[in-house]
Symmetry: C2
Subunit: 305 residues, 2 copies
């Protein structure tokens, strides 16, 4: 096993940067998070911040590969989107090298689709986890796979024979954040009340009429006598339940198809409970490991296709 | 026609207080808005604020009748809710008189229902407009009426033979406010782009999958090249379209039933466009006139039955 770092891999999103140094075989040698997401960068600040990352991880001079919102107009440079359908080779072909005196830096392109209604949909970051996950086992690149990456902007994805053919974004996590922070549903209680979460899953019903179902989170306190501390868990269950009940159908995902949940493990577990409550099969996969595998394979041109 | 003021009538909500002095026949003699909604009051501050209203309108010593959130735990006193079904007599019987040395003050009760899924739903303020509207014409108190009061918390209501038998709240206005202010969809452009509003109405589709449909407001800018200035009108159309498409069915309102839109005239016009785009009939009624009529009739015990 190699002990020498040969790559600096970064998942650089809106709120955080996560960096790893990797050996030739993809082994993680160092791992560190930084608070400077691209949402907090001033124009032109990205190279200086990456230099700090290099210093902190002893990664001076290493080639670097970056995915996430760093490739948007908020980040280092707005890399072009690759259009669907897209496979690993399309992603690799879309890598954008930026000039940086501190070492070779390449940024992973985002992906774009007309979306379920032609309005247009985009992703930046999740594609690297997806193709890292696909690269890990050849059988994932045959047949049809349904993958869900839950988060601020949850992505539902359909993969056919190793090609991403459709995806759809639901603002589930962001709705939870703005409603618990700024609305009449605001609550400082942490989620984690399992009973209230399941009550929320039930309240999601068919997932229709969300603006009305959301107000039940208020009604159950004021008219139903429930404890205010249960509000955020209820809201979480309601939003995730509605997402699971309605978003997949927009891009032709059937009710019987099992779902690979890929991302933050705790959030994946919430989505898993929502899927299970509707009798749907699922399996959970660690998004961080997939991101590392994806960045490593993209760098080495070994994503498979 | 009487020229002497005999009643101080107030609609005292979360953000504003609107006050009128009325003659014996309900004629408005003075009319004034104040910025101290109950959301900004400290505990026990309400009587002092009403004294300021009396001074400003020359209404010292007049009996006063108040509706809205002033009857909540944020306001003067938390008045008990009246339960559905409720008619004008139930509302009148629920008036709560509070002790105030400056004159007789009565507060209209709120209304409560188990709601479409038993979670519980409440209203405070809209009931006064509703019963004021019903009182204005006897034929509204026969047969079945579907009434929608659009707003921060839009209320859909079913009236049968003058009794409110069901209502449901949709957080449509509040979703618009928090999303345009705090989310990735934030926009400082005023609504008013008719084309984008209609694009939003179409994007609401069947009103399902709202968390995903909302993200099309982002996708159409980033991947679809639409002007950022159009974002808030699109979002308004999408949210109102989804509300109109889905909330009524939760309380058994049929697709063919015409809707009486009662409230702010501009907002009613937006809802009217959404209803018309789905081939539904509607008529618009001024909520302010209905509030005045409701408060006047409640005071005089002349709401009808």
């Amino acid at each position: 096993m190699s002990r020498a770092a040969t790559l600096l891999a970064c998942d650089w999103g809106t709120t955080h940067l996560r960096a790893w140094t990797l050996g030739d075989d993809g082994t993680v040698l160092k791992d560190r998070g930084f608070p400077f997401g691209v949402g907090r960068l001033s124009a032109g600040e990205a190279p200086q911040r990456l230099a700090e990352v290099r210093t902190a991880l002893g990664a001076q001079g290493l080639p670097a590969i970056l995915c996430g919102m760093v490739g948007s107009n908020l980040g280092w440079v707005a890399t072009p989107y690759a259009d669907l359908p897209a496979d690993a080779a399309d992603l690799a072909a879309g890598l954008v090298e930026v000039g940086d005196p501190a070492g070779r830096v390449r940024i992973v392109p985002g992906l774009r689709t007309p979306g379920f209604n032609g309005a247009g949909d985009v992703m930046r970051g999740e594609e690297t986890q997806l193709f890292g996950w696909l690269a890990a086992h050849p059988e994932r690149r045959t047949g049809r796979q349904v993958v869900c990456h839950p988060g601020t902007h949850t992505k539902w994805m359909v993969v056919e024979e190793g090609r991403l053919t459709a995806f759809c974004t639901a603002m589930t996590g962001e709705l939870f954040a703005v409603l618990t922070k700024y609305s009449v549903l605001k609550s400082e209680a942490p989620a984690g009340d399992v009973t209230a979460f399941e009550e929320g899953l039930n309240a999601a019903g068919a997932g229709d009429a969300l603006a009305a179902r959301l107000f039940t989170a208020r009604g159950r306190l004021v008219a139903g006598g429930r404890a205010p501390e249960s509000a955020s868990s209820y809201l979480s269950g309601l939003l995730i339940g509605a997402d699971v009940a309605t978003t997949p159908a927009l891009i032709g995902i059937g009710l019987a198809e099992p779902v690979a949940l890929l991302g933050d493990l705790e959030l994946c577990a919430h989505y898993g409970r929502a899927l299970a409550s509707r009798g749907r099969g699922y399996e959970i996969f660690d998004g961080e490991a997939a991101a590392i595998a994806g960045l490593h394979a993209l760098h080495h041109g070994s994503l498979g296709r």
